[in-house]
Symmetry: C2
Subunit: 352 residues, 2 copies
């Protein structure tokens, strides 16, 4: 069974819902792009067979970002209905499908739904690498900061005797065999995501993808994200040396995360063939890269990846490693400041 | 805001999911009726505009009963598709909407979904007395043991100076003013339920209602259910006398539950006018009334109503009351054995 990684649930200080401002900034920066995409690329004729306009957010986590994202979409669609006066916009009913793994904290999502929302809310449990909705039911889909998660650690890279064995915890980009193994898995997963969505979308439906990628030719470890992952790996190694983590286990541990290069993402979309690539844009926002604040970065990474590490190495060991991590980040501030730029992307796909 | 009552969540010994065998027995007894309803009353033509066949369970709680209910429905519909060979039944995709209050434990529902299910699962949070789904999207709906919950305690009955003041904790049926107040609220709520569903259903869609009612002319307090409620009321009064519950608060407490008589249910359906009453049947099952076992009855009532009492009187007081309750049930076994029969109903409605 595919591993499933969810953000820290609930609404307490250590929860994802309290520490998702970075992702939120990207959302705000893309509001305009979403507006434009819907204004210029969405044909409303296709909704005439349907009694509701259906929107999905894939990898929604617990909110509040997902609420902002779907409201942006619904506002833009509502505006378009009003403009085209195809029908009374008041007659259009919106249904939103919030999708994430079945162990996502949907109870918190439901408890914090905006009380004045203008849509019917539903939760859809299950991995978005496969089908989660009936065919031809979706008009607009959204997926933010989720597609760098792989469905599994790539084959071969965890075994010491494999040519693709990876001692690091992620794809640094410096070993060809490791990079190839990660890329192959990304192709399978992102391709599977697109194939599943292709069935769920009506023809003409718009799929918006937001997230982090790498400019072509840039290696993960040359960017801030990569340096930070290396700091986490180094922190886990320190804790292993103290005997709190089994070194063998750590050496064979790899994060099921791959930050793809622009060309790699485009290749998968083209090979899949079900969607027209309408836009692939770089998004700039206030904190374009992570802010250089060790405490902020430690908390952000703990909230986002802590669950994954804890499931492997236990809570105490990870607490300790995240403590080391903050120190290492502090020591790496100069290196982080000089890192190559990563990239935030907005991709607009149109179901053929 | 309307109060929302949910069953005890999770999967532990005190949870609804572990203590819903009574409701389960009714489900099993109605499997045949569901089969028959779908075989004889469901027109498949209406699904031709839709790419999925949509089923909803209103008031689903956490499972496993809801999974049994929807599977019964899907099996019957699948069988019908196969028989009529309107299209390849393999091409029909089922979507199931599990509805309950937004504070229902949907995380447990998702965690325990049957892994081999043949439908797309979605959760729909919100009170079923209002709209929870887009218009014209539903083909078959189901609501089991939920419609005796009222959206609120009827007006007037909690105030000492009201002619409808009710010192008992439920509608015993012996005071006309109290009975009228409860019936009025039932009409508003059940009528609201039907009006909301009327918009959500396609024409020809089937709505199946299961639950407890009273034969015409029988008063609640003459039945086992009523006697048991009286025992709970008496137990709460004992605890109030010990000072653990404020007597004034208890005197003004009323359960937002009304077990309607057959004729009352039929009247609301007729007055609403959106559904054809295709069947109103008495369901008999193995344990037609509650089994005469004080321990079983105490646990069942604790799981089902404990949350409601605790929200009013606190956990400790309710623990104590439920302890007294078991003793009172033991003392009332003869009275319970001689009680007038209640009735389990299966109602089949067809959207006009």
């Amino acid at each position: 069974m595919a591993p499933s990684h969810t953000m820290a649930g609930g609404e307490s200080g250590d929860s994802y819902s309290q520490h998702s401002t970075y992702q939120r900034a990207l959302l705000e920066a893309t509001k305009e792009k979403i507006d434009e995409a819907i204004t210029t690329k969405l044909d409303l004729y296709f909704t005439s067979n349907s009694f509701s306009f259906n929107v999905a957010d894939f990898g929604c986590s617990t909110g509040p970002n997902t609420f902002v994202a779907v409201q942006n979409i619904i506002d833009a669609v509502g505006h378009k209905f009003q403009e085209q006066t195809l029908e009374n916009p008041k007659d259009v009913e919106f249904q939103v499908f919030f999708n994430d793994h079945s162990n996502n904290d949907f109870n918190t999502l439901f408890r914090t739904l905006p009380p004045t929302r203008s849509y019917f809310a539903t939760a859809v449990p299950g991995s978005f690498f496969g089908r989660v909705l009936p065919k031809d039911c979706l008009h607009v889909g959204h997926c933010s900061y989720s597609l760098h998660w792989l469905s599994r650690v790539p084959r071969g890279i965890t075994a010491r005797d494999s040519p693709a064995w990876n001692k690091d915890i992620h794809c640094t980009g410096f070993t060809k065999e490791v990079a190839d193994a990660y890329l192959d898995q990304f192709k399978v997963d992102f391709g599977g995501f697109l194939s599943a969505r292709a069935q769920e979308f009506v023809s003409g439906g718009l799929l918006m993808l937001l997230g982090s990628c790498l400019p072509d030719g840039v290696k993960m470890s040359e960017t801030m994200k990569g340096i930070l992952f290396d700091c986490i790996g180094s922190s886990l190694n320190d804790v292993a040396k103290q005997g709190l983590i089994d070194q063998e286990k750590l050496d064979s541990f790899n994060m099921p995360i791959y930050v793809a290069q622009v060309g790699e993402i485009k290749d998968v979309i083209e090979e899949n063939g079900c969607f027209e690539l309408e836009a692939f844009e770089k998004v700039s926002h206030a904190n374009d890269e992570f802010p250089l604040d060790a405490k902020f970065l430690a908390t952000l990474h703990k909230v986002t990846f802590g669950g994954l590490f804890e499931s492997q190495f236990g809570k105490d060991a990870v607490e300790k490693a995240m403590g080391c991590f903050e120190g290492k980040v502090q020591d790496s501030l100069q290196e982080l400041a000089n890192a190559k730029a990563g990239m935030q992307f907005f991709v607009l796909l149109r179901r053929k």
